[in-house]
Symmetry: C3
Subunit: 675 residues, 3 copies
């Protein structure tokens, strides 16, 4: 638990007083108090300020800010400032500049601008992190380290090319193995020297977004780039830990960001933190799923909401205001899913450059008499009331959904069978079907132990890594319910097809053979027709995207296709395997099918919701040894009555007992402490 030094839900966010005249900071401190803000994230982009040239470091400005904050009761989340290198460094050491996907050497500018394999960047980013750690290791204000910022983006320079060859040599030892696992016999790609291998970009194997001529090299380059950036993070992490072994270290992740394998990253983070920027039209359940994924990165350990906007964003096409109550509601949604902090980007709006129209607690008008500030202050006050009660409580889910970045990369790099297959969408369909029924789920990686769960759902488990099929079999054999879908079991972790019939290594546990895979045009659909009514399901449902043409090899056929030349072939099967069951959904169904289907599975496993679903109302539970906290979140624009049934407890904020039916205001939240 990270919050010991300040045992409450931390409240605050990114803060840049160095960009302002000093008297402004007095106003800020006054307003922090008014709004219950107690944590400021500092130094995120101040590298150029702290290191004005190669030999000089100057942290006096930072000393003063930290001191003033601490004197005024505000703690610090201290960033290492390496999210963007200084202009002087780019000029003196061009190796810090990236070569982009088009093969162009970039110049100074923007963000995410450092080559992760640049010797200069590695040397100086590690050095400044260490200098900061040395300097502030004993400062009582510092709660946590924030390494760099939103790592991301790839580079294709010669340093990266060399690094890639070393990484490959490490992984495959010989070129013979590499030629094998990349299937280089195809299109005459046989390599005889390591130096013949070049990064896959628009000048070699790739084009556009995720189009490649050679899946093997493209997949490995994604792994290598994720690892390269992780190495940068680890250099700073270790430099810091030398001096402050007890202070937690994190870096802010970006939820469903595609380019980094966050499960691998999370092993090196003391706590996961992330930046939550839904748009007006992001489904509520997609935000919920992303929170659960971030929580899943470290097996359920609470995470930090590191950034969210108090109101508006600036980089979306149409930057709607967060409607009244929405900021608070979405803050509680984060907490409901495992966040132990509520932090904003940003505490004060900047006056210039590209984020000046990004919302802030303190707007350009500069005073507290704004809707946004009032809502922030109201939340600040409530978080003070909550004190430490929710800290480090956990979510107990009996259903797990597998999420795997490497699988995602492989699926979306695939040439065929359809460009319309998007991994996150398919995962979200299953998550949403549970969410609509108030069933909590964990998002887990492929390393996670399955035995804690009753049901494991692995949508589009295209890539089956070494040993994973065995683990699925063990899980099912021991009584678990496993579910996967079309286009699963196809390849190993090098994107090489498992021969002998789809779904490859999963064929036995699933008891089916997928002979062909039909890709439907966007305006085409087929139907899933139940062979007989089953629980919440009967009749027929729409499906599309891909249709596996499967044969049962022992599995029971629960539904068949309704049309086309494969009418009557199985569309949904279940195989009894040991004490458990393995399900195969051969196509991508409409939501109503998935809700009925997962309702049936949960019912079979005795998994029930705390309270029955109410449209637009989200439920989540956090618990510890003594307490259960039930979050009821009303996403509707209208008040809503929620029947608590036999539940009763205490409104954690109001401190009032609550029983029977409770009325939540529009966008209102109730946190019920159930003893």
């Amino acid at each position: 638990m990270i919050n010991q030094k300040l045992p409450k839900i931390w409240y605050g966010g990114d803060y840049n007083p160095e960009q302002w005249d000093k008297e402004i900071m007095n106003e800020d401190l006054r307003m922090f108090k008014l709004s219950g803000i107690d944590v400021a994230t500092l130094n995120v982009f101040s590298w150029a300020l702290s290191q004005p040239n190669e030999g000089t470091y100057d942290f006096a400005w930072l000393d003063e800010i930290i001191d003033r904050l601490y004197e005024n009761g505000t703690y610090v989340c201290l960033a290492t400032s390496t999210g963007a290198h200084p202009a002087w460094m780019a000029r003196k050491y061009p190796d810090v500049l990236r070569v982009d996907f088009e093969g162009r050497k970039r110049k100074f500018g923007g963000r995410h601008n450092s080559c992760p394999n640049s010797p200069t960047y590695r040397k100086y980013s590690e050095r400044i992190a260490e200098k900061l750690a040395e300097r502030y290791k004993d400062h009582p204000a510092v709660l946590i380290w924030h390494v760099s910022n939103e790592y991301g983006g790839y580079c294709y320079c010669n340093h990266c090319a060399d690094g890639f060859r070393n990484w490959l040599q490490e992984r495959y030892t010989t070129l013979e193995t590499l030629n094998k696992v990349w299937n280089t016999g195809f299109w005459g790609h046989t390599f005889y020297e390591w130096e013949e291998i070049v990064p896959p970009n628009a000048l070699s194997e790739e084009w556009g977004v995720d189009n490649t001529n050679f899946q093997g090299i493209s997949l490995d380059y994604r792994r290598f780039m994720s690892d390269s950036l992780l190495d940068c993070y680890k250099l700073e992490y270790n430099a810091i830990k030398k001096h402050t072994p007890d202070l937690p270290v994190t870096t802010n992740l970006m939820g469903l960001y595609k380019e980094l394998d966050y499960f691998k990253w999370a092993k090196h983070l003391d706590v996961v933190s992330w930046d939550n920027y839904p748009s007006l039209n992001t489904p509520i359940s997609l935000t919920a799923m992303t929170h659960d994924l971030m929580r899943g990165l470290k097996q359920g350990q609470p995470f930090m909401l590191m950034e969210q906007t108090p109101s508006q964003q600036n980089w979306q096409p149409y930057n709607s205001l967060k409607r009244p109550g929405v900021m608070k509601l979405w803050s509680y949604q984060a907490v409901a899913h495992g966040a132990d902090t509520v932090l904003f980007f940003q505490l004060r709006r900047s006056v210039g450059a590209c984020e000046k129209y990004h919302g802030a607690v303190i707007e350009h008008v500069g005073h507290e008499h704004t809707r946004v500030f009032r809502e922030c202050a109201e939340l600040g006050s409530e978080l003070q009331k909550l004190s430490d009660s929710l800290l480090d409580t956990r979510i107990k889910a009996r259903v797990a959904i597998v999420f795997d970045w490497e699988n995602r990369w492989a699926i979306e790099l695939s040439s065929g069978p359809t460009v319309a297959l998007k991994y996150v969408d398919e995962v979200h369909k299953y998550y949403d079907a549970l969410f609509q029924q108030n069933i909590q789920a964990d998002l887990i990686g492929t390393d996670t132990d399955l035995s804690d769960y009753d049901i494991v759902i692995a949508p589009v488990l295209y890539m089956v890594k070494k040993g994973y099929a065995k683990r699925v079999e063990d899980f099912v054999r021991s009584g678990g319910t496993f579910l996967t879908t079309f286009f699963s079991g196809i390849v190993n972790e090098n994107d090489i097809v498992s021969l002998g019939g789809y779904p490859g290594e999963l064929r036995e546990v699933l008891g089916i053979w997928a002979e062909e895979i039909d890709a439907l045009f966007p305006d085409q659909s087929n139907q899933i027709v139940l062979t007989e009514p089953w629980g919440a399901l009967s009749g027929e449902y729409k499906c599309g995207l891909l249709c596996d043409l499967i044969h049962s090899e022992g599995a029971e056929i629960k539904a068949v296709y309704g049309s086309d030349f494969y009418q009557g072939m199985p569309a949904l099967t279940v195989n009894k395997f040991g004490a458990g069951h393995a399900w195969y959904v051969a196509t991508s169904p409409e939501p109503s099918f998935l809700q009925g289907f997962l309702a049936n599975l949960c019912k079979e496993k005795g998994i029930t919701a705390p309270i029955p679903p109410v449209p637009g109302v989200e439920i989540s539970q956090r618990t510890n040894e003594n307490e259960t906290y039930l979050f009821i979140l009303n996403h509707n624009d209208q008040p809503v009555n929620v029947d608590l049934g036999t539940l009763n407890g205490t409104d954690l904020i109001a401190g009032q007992p609550v029983t029977n039916t409770v009325t939540l205001s529009a966008k209102g939240t109730l946190i019920l402490s159930i003893s």
Copy 2:
């Protein structure tokens, strides 16, 4: 007045006899006479012809053409030929070649191909301009100089980078100031040496169209590029003026072209000239507005219509023919808005390369028996009849609309609140509302004196330059009516937010505070609801795009929002300030609202139309001390009756008196001389 040497509306256009066998020119001269053509624009793209290598100049071909034209009664608009450099120059001096937005050094080809900071280009473009001026300074055929051609396009080479640093040093003196006005503290952009600054393009700060990470540098680069190209123009201008101080000099502008600040350019043009290429679906009022903008560049001085097509264009997706009568109608539209010339691109159609399907007076068939030629000849004959009557007459408008390129750049470079905000569209909405009511407007820059006007409309006055708010206040205080809209008063001329509450420096004169700005999705709308019926307005009107959430600070609330959480907040306010009124339109309304609104304002100020509106009929008036010329332009496909009320006068072409009701043919024009 430029037309003294040839005191009539000049008629002719671009002509390239050097691309043809000599006997063709005899035919051309014959047909010029048939069609009343008396001006040929020569030498626009003949640099490679006149200067076949570094040391040789050969104008004998041009001597002969000018002489032959003059002997046959055709005058000359003489271009300097520097619109595209010769291939030999690109090969010998690659510094003339641009580096494009993607950072790629270009090769020889296309147009707009010279780097404006290339020492070679500057040296040789100045030199050939001077040689031409020396040679033809006494030739009686030459009426005017046409420098280069349609200046445009940016470069990002090292010469430009150096030039940019010098320009910045000139403007800001110290890096400290530059760091301040660009707010470089953001994203660690602090500069310690001028050399660290690189041009903002796809390799540094920008991407796509008008997307940037750093508004300050991007805005200044646009200023610098506009100035760089202007410097090229000025070099030629000065070289010419040394030899022909009394001949006017111009360069052909491109109306609403975004990349150059034409208000700044116009100061260095003796006369504004421009190329008018509407498409079949360009609104008539947008063409009218562009003419008025071109006229406004030099405070109402008549301008030259330098290019238009007799019929077809070639570079649009679907190049419709100009319907019968349209060429003549649009020519008179130009004259009605202040043009004292009617010139075409081109007099004879080229046989090869990319403009061979661009219309010409003389088509590929080569004779006069074509619809297009007949229409040209008919217009030529009418222009002869008009003689010098319209020359140098002026348009007297009591309403001004502010148009500012720097504001436009800043708005469209902004990251947030919406990508849908296009400056020209918003300006055009207000212009069109006046146009539909036969109210003439001037388009003015931010330097223009406001005291000549009764009403000043400044749509989206996002950037308020130093001293401009004071000038608005003086204008209103003295009784003027000022009108601005949502997203105004936000930044200063460095795109740095004016703190203390929007609309910044305009807050006092407008009597309001804009607390938040909501961005609507394209399918969303709100309503403007009048608090009580007011003149032409009552009930409610649709609005969208952006909705400022404003509070009155003394302003009267004339209308409020009809829905969403800001229902009931002000949507239209007016503030009495001194003897005048300042209006704020907090959102982007539908056209019917703006027509009613501006009708009310005009009525209050006693501004009336010469004759009442007739659908599809455009009205304009040019006047001098003695005469008023009323243009009535029928854009309809059918004849139309226009009631002249108490007006009566003389049909300037037919020479007949006209009273009461007059019938205009489809696409017909009436120019009424009113004594």
Copy 3:
């Protein structure tokens, strides 16, 4: 005739046993026998395997494969493997790497990756072809040579620039001529040294797809690139022929592929072969037309179907399965149009890289119990029954449609009058109108003798090459019916306009003058109104795209425009010229017009269909001196009855006599031998 050594329709396809463990090949051989496969295409992408470094060649692996195949009754189509160069070569000799359209030097990767003017590529591709020819010249398994693979793509490197200058010098001798034919006077493009000329790409004259500032250079660069790649082919061709003068040599073409002038290529192919990859929504008649075009490349000589997929593709957006029966139906469609082979890509599906989801005879499951295999085996068995009966039979068409790559390039490079004009679409409209009436057509080039035909249709004959107008006149004078359309006769082969009125050199034979060309927006249309009912035509029909405004100069007016300002002007004319007729269709009509129109023309010429049209049923006839084979192809999803009228013959596969009415199953084919 190529099939002498194996006198039947060859059956098989691409095969890569070198990518597999050796035991797999035993399974393959077993399944080849099961499915009647007798030809394997080998060595398509094995360059890197056979030449592991500059000095070493190793064909032992290939010896073994060829021997094993031959021992098992499978012949070989032997590729030269130069479709993609080895990685070591790219590293050692970067001149083999292309510079792309954006001017970027590419790195190793992908396909189509060799610069056609690279000295290294030319040297080593020729050398390996020769080595293969030497080695296998006497091997009884080898039926034919397959040079490289799907030649395509352009390069813009310095070697190509030099090559282009030489090519131009060869073609035009002097710069004076070049300046003339490119009309370089336009936009100051005059060249004084050959070295000033640079390839036209995104850094010089072109942008996007087929947009150029200079048509002349862009057109010639396409010719040059087509010739450069052809030179590469010819180097290999000649090297092979030195050793195996009697074995046929081909390279697989790509149907309507735009970048190569296949009529010019075909002169150097012993037999045309091509790869047929229709999508689910490709019109049947477009595939038919492409077959006819491939047949037309060598004046009707049977061609090879070199590649098609047994079921799925992988590179389309949505890769549908070929429905049951479709693979066989489309195979017979190829044969019906002149194919003497049916070959697949691929015999066994690869396990990795970008084509692993491309269908194959042997799928990843690896056994024969799949729908796809069963269908392949069924076809294999039928092809064995057909034996040599169809080989080298010909199609006798009395209607020819002109197809010309140079014309296509010029049309689509044109700036104006419309971006919507696509040459292939216009050609296909005419082809389809014949197809729907069971009238066979030949697709011919501009070299083809016209005297064999009764009707010659030349849609959008924009470019009229030297002497072609004369040939058209001779054809018509001798009694032929010639038909062309809007935007024809405009330019010569350098894209220079023929002066004196459109349609230029065709004006006399057509008896019309096209004064103007109107381009319609996509949502606009006009009407073709018959002046009086004529055969299958009466009343009015929709038209659009472009409308020529024509005047008759002797031609009879058969139809006029129905609206707009050119209402009543001719839209369809016919000119009696000598003993024949020349038709002009001034706009792009709807299909029903073209069907009626061509029905009328055919009727006049006594051209009739073998049997009347049945919806969804395709007809084709192949004949030799003794026999006529009528193909009836049912593309419907339902069985269909076809009335044979007085025809009767023998079902060539079933061996049964067929008379009167025959019922074809859904997707069924009947090949009727008519004596």
